[in-house]
């Protein structure tokens, strides 16, 4: 690591440190790749949002850019028929389970989902899938934080933020469609030992966790 290398993304020649993840080097060079779950300075890379797919020369199938270390002479395309199909399907699945209320959403205008939809010309409202609302109550018990689990896309960024700077009260619970970010014993945030630092709201790429206005 540390060696400067050159590779190409969409025909653009990029210099970067060897071993850095492709996603971040591309973003640094103004090439947008959709992404939700990844964070730059995080060791843990869940690669779970399935949105940052790219086509790599010599690889049989598209692969996620957030877990691909760059190397000398790498040739990457951020768009292809296969990539677009994967991203469109992944995005539609996410949106089929996301309460769409952009007008009243605190993240409106600064929402990763809106950004992805715009960049890839995708619809926010799923075309082929029914929207399955979780119908869970919005939690406003914590000082300064508003949590709407119905909007959550399970990227896990709030959980990592909470472990870094908060008390580590957030975590994934349950399984399958019922999977949800919650606290121990499903206590409301206000009773969970949350200190209200608001870093989870900072980390949330959409409006599921937001600072109270």
């Amino acid at each position: 690591m540390g060696n400067q290398i050159t590779f190409t993304v969409d025909g653009k020649i990029i210099n970067a440190a060897e071993g850095e993840m492709l996603l971040w080097t591309a973003l640094d060079n103004d090439i947008y790749i959709p992404h939700l779950c990844g964070e730059r300075n995080e060791k843990e890379r869940p690669a779970s949002c399935r949105l940052c797919f790219v086509e790599v020369d010599g690889r049989p199938a598209p692969m996620p850019a957030c877990t691909l270390p760059v190397s000398e002479g790498l040739v990457v395309k951020t768009r292809s028929e296969r990539v677009d199909a994967l991203v469109a399907a992944g995005f539609e699945l996410l949106m089929s389970n996301h309460r769409l209320d952009c007008k009243n959403c605190p993240a409106n205008g600064n929402c990763e989902l809106q950004r992805i939809a715009k960049a890839r010309k995708l619809r926010l409202k799923p075309k082929n899938l029914p929207v399955l609302d979780k119908g869970l109550p919005v939690d406003d018990s914590a000082p300064g934080i508003l949590y709407d689990p119905n909007k959550c896309v399970l990227c896990g960024r709030c959980i990592r933020a909470c472990r870094h700077s908060g008390n580590g009260v957030l975590g994934f619970t349950r399984r399958g469609f019922e999977r949800i970010v919650a606290t121990f014993g499903d206590l409301p945030l206000g009773d969970s030992g949350c200190q209200g630092c608001g870093d989870c709201a900072e980390a949330c790429p959409i409006g599921a966790l937001a600072k109270k206005a």
Binding site: R163, G168, V169, G171, T173, R174, R175, A182, F184, G185
Partner: protein, 175 residues
């Protein structure tokens, strides 16, 4: 579901006892939880907190594991463990309607136990008698062709049994 002080004490002691063996490597987490469940019949919050402290992880991680796997219970099992079959045949014959009927009658949700500890409700996969769908198993007793009315009937007969047993017990004491 409120636990009594006695139950809490037993849960803490049992968990500490189990935790005295294994080290804090993450791989031991599920075996430990399985042992707790085996000993207590369920995994109460106090036990989860003990386990989390032992493994040096946030309590919510243990809670995440417990809620992920069906084999773990969060509430003590009731005297009558009602298992609603959710196999393909029972599902097609309206097992979810039966589930709703139980939930409405007992005023609890699946996975919970009534306040008097008489009934607990669970969903299970195929119990193997699909011709009788939809099936409900009460402890070891299999009941086939269940309808919401039959749910009322089962509860009524249970009440009767209980009353008779109490009456008999009373007579025995009188002799």
């Amino acid at each position: 579901m409120k636990l009594t002080a006695e139950e809490t004490r037993v849960a803490v002691d049992t968990t500490r006892d189990i935790l005295s063996g294994p080290n804090d490597s993450r791989g031991n987490l599920i075996p430990v939880l399985q042992q707790v469940q085996k000993k207590l019949g369920y995994v109460p919050p106090v036990a989860m907190q003990e386990v989390a402290a032992h493994f040096n992880i946030p309590a919510v991680d243990v809670y995440g594991v417990i809620t992920f796997y069906n084999q773990f219970r969060l509430t003590p099992p009731g005297k009558n463990q009602i298992k609603i079959c959710m196999g393909t045949a029972c599902h097609m014959r309206g097992a979810n309607i039966i589930q709703e009927a139980w939930e409405r009658r007992l005023k609890i949700k699946v996975g919970e136990t009534t306040e008097d500890r008489e009934f607990s409700l669970e969903r299970v996969a195929c119990v193997g008698c699909c011709t009788m769908a939809p099936v409900v198993v009460n402890n070891e007793e299999v009941n086939g062709k269940i309808t919401p009315t039959r749910v009322d009937g089962l509860l009524f007969s249970y009440e009767l049994d209980k009353k008779n047993a109490a009456a008999e017990g009373g007579e025995d004491n009188g002799q």
